[in-house]
Symmetry: C2
Subunit: 182 residues, 2 copies
Amino acid sequence: MKYCSACGSAVVRRIPAGDSVERDVCPDCETIHYQNPRVIVGCLPVWQDQILLCKRAIEPRYGYWTLPCGFMENGETTAEGAARETWEEARARVEISHLFALFNVPHINQVHLIYYAPMTDGRFAAGPESLEVALFSPQAIDRRQIAFRSVLFTLQQYTEHGAATPRLFTGEAREPSPDRMI
Amino acid sequence: MKYCSACGSAVVRRIPAGDSVERDVCPDCETIHYQNPRVIVGCLPVWQDQILLCKRAIEPRYGYWTLPCGFMENGETTAEGAARETWEEARARVEISHLFALFNVPHINQVHLIYYAPMTDGRFAAGPESLEVALFSPQAIDRRQIAFRSVLFTLQQYTEHGAATPRLFTGEAREPSPDRMI
């Protein structure tokens, strides 16, 4: 951030009174511009013991596979966002069951929330951000082809524990991955 | 947002190519300024069957009681943020146990994440954002004095179910409360 989004003046970095963190502050209109982590919402869509994955048609991680997920939007709930992303990327309708995984990625200021979500029917198709969408047996998934560590974590927990218990699995990645998985 | 934070030009509202939502877009440098929900992180700090609450010294809801919670910061995990807020507002050290409640407030673009967190000792004190901090028996809490609906929801779930099961309780508030509780 270089300019104040409220008045257009150049901002300065400063710790505001009563705060302990340096922020972008406007010296003219005194607006403090907070920057906060973003929420990624998505689903683990399941149909007859198979998992729906999307091959990414966009960067980052073009050509790698992911669970349908994306940035949560203003005005929606986490579950609504997860279902929306599943429709947008995989053209699949799901019944959101419960929050399955919470994955922190503090070095890129993200929190990933993945819902366990049985598909309401077996229908799916590639949305505009996907090259291809397909159902996989958990055992048949090649971890080297997975786009994000939160997705790998979710798939591993599902393979190990199943979804029978509405348990929340939590994980985190604190620095860039050596194999460039985000 | 009126001005582009990257170049200072006046922004326009427009649906970017490949998007479906109107954004603030800079017609000069073409930066798209996304606005996304914010995460509130906090704790349900427990000491000998009592719950630690803070009386707010700041707006909104000055003078009302809350669990220690606040905006998640860049560079931290949800659990770290929850423990940080508990120290800042209540000068209490906690052992984060598990995520206890997820509460959506889409009409103000917030997601609240509350961790169940036994206190490591019985010590606490008012931080700069609190008028007073105190331990309460769950039954002794007056719901009319609670600041936020996510806090009320969390207290109700705890009273009803306890924390024995590491279960996640999820709730939401879709519009302003008639009694002005946020």
